[in-house]
Symmetry: C2
């Protein structure tokens, strides 16, 4: 998903989302957020360590929470964009685990949670104007060790 | 807790923590974070809406997560400071609920979770060099309605 888009169209949507996030969300600018990759099934957002350190010099938990939340949000927003659905998308709840300190630039990879699928979410959003979807997200160290994880539920409300 | 400190000493510790957070954590500066009040049992951190908006113009969930996480962290750090214990304090996990959009400047109030107490935490940190403590935090609207909540567990590691 969305298999119907060309890779150029996917890259355009992802680049546009990156510009919108930076334009609309001041904290994303402070984080230095960048869209790294989107293949329809996963979205990767990247951030440099320097603007995101804590008092220990490793990544601030709040920065990790921001980047993982935005990765999950962006994953769903791009699915909406690919379907041409205009809807406001809100995070409803999330569970985070901080497993290891992050001493390097980091990326968050968001995917749908097990058992979730874009098609029924987008169908419900189109017909009922409201739909929910769960995502999971991970920040891994350069060696692949998971350093932080997020599970979150989002709700989309069609714009009238 | 800490009942043994004068209100002036409490105000000094809280002001020092506020300066340290802003000096050490760039994202706290971007958020415009300020320490509002600390009475030993609760810590209140405040943030203006403008630097913390999302694409809808209300408070970005990541900003709420940052302020609530820092409020919980700060509550425990101040208890450590009041006891004179030097320890690195990390968030281990957290659960967040976003209940209502926040269209105004906001504050997060952190308290210990039910069943938790500072004294056994500080005693364990002093004797064993490691201890955990759970907090809960809420961002309420001006009319008192809870808009976001966080439950989080922190671990403190004494500096050798």
């Amino acid at each position: 998903m969305p298999g119907s888009l060309s890779s150029a169209a996917r890259a355009d949507l992802a680049a546009r989302l990156g510009r919108e996030i930076l334009a609309d969300i001041p904290l994303a600018r402070a984080i230095g957020l960048a869209v790294s990759a989107w293949d329809g099934d996963s979205l990767v957002l990247a951030a440099p360590l320097a603007p995101n350190v804590n008092d220990k010099g490793c990544a601030f938990g709040g920065s990790l929470a921001c980047v993982m939340t935005l990765a999950g949000w962006g994953l769903i927003r791009l699915a909406q964009d690919a379907r041409g659905l205009a809807a406001d998308l809100y995070v409803q709840d999330s569970a985070l685990r901080y497993l290891a300190p992050v001493w390097e630039d980091f990326s968050a990879v968001a995917r749908l949670a097990p058992g979730e699928a874009f098609a029924p979410f987008l169908d419900a959003l189109g017909t009922r104007g409201k739909a929910r979807l769960r995502v999971e997200c991970v920040v891994a160290l350069a060696d692949g060790t998971p350093a932080a994880t997020l599970e979150a539920r989002f709700v989309a409300l069609a714009r009238s």
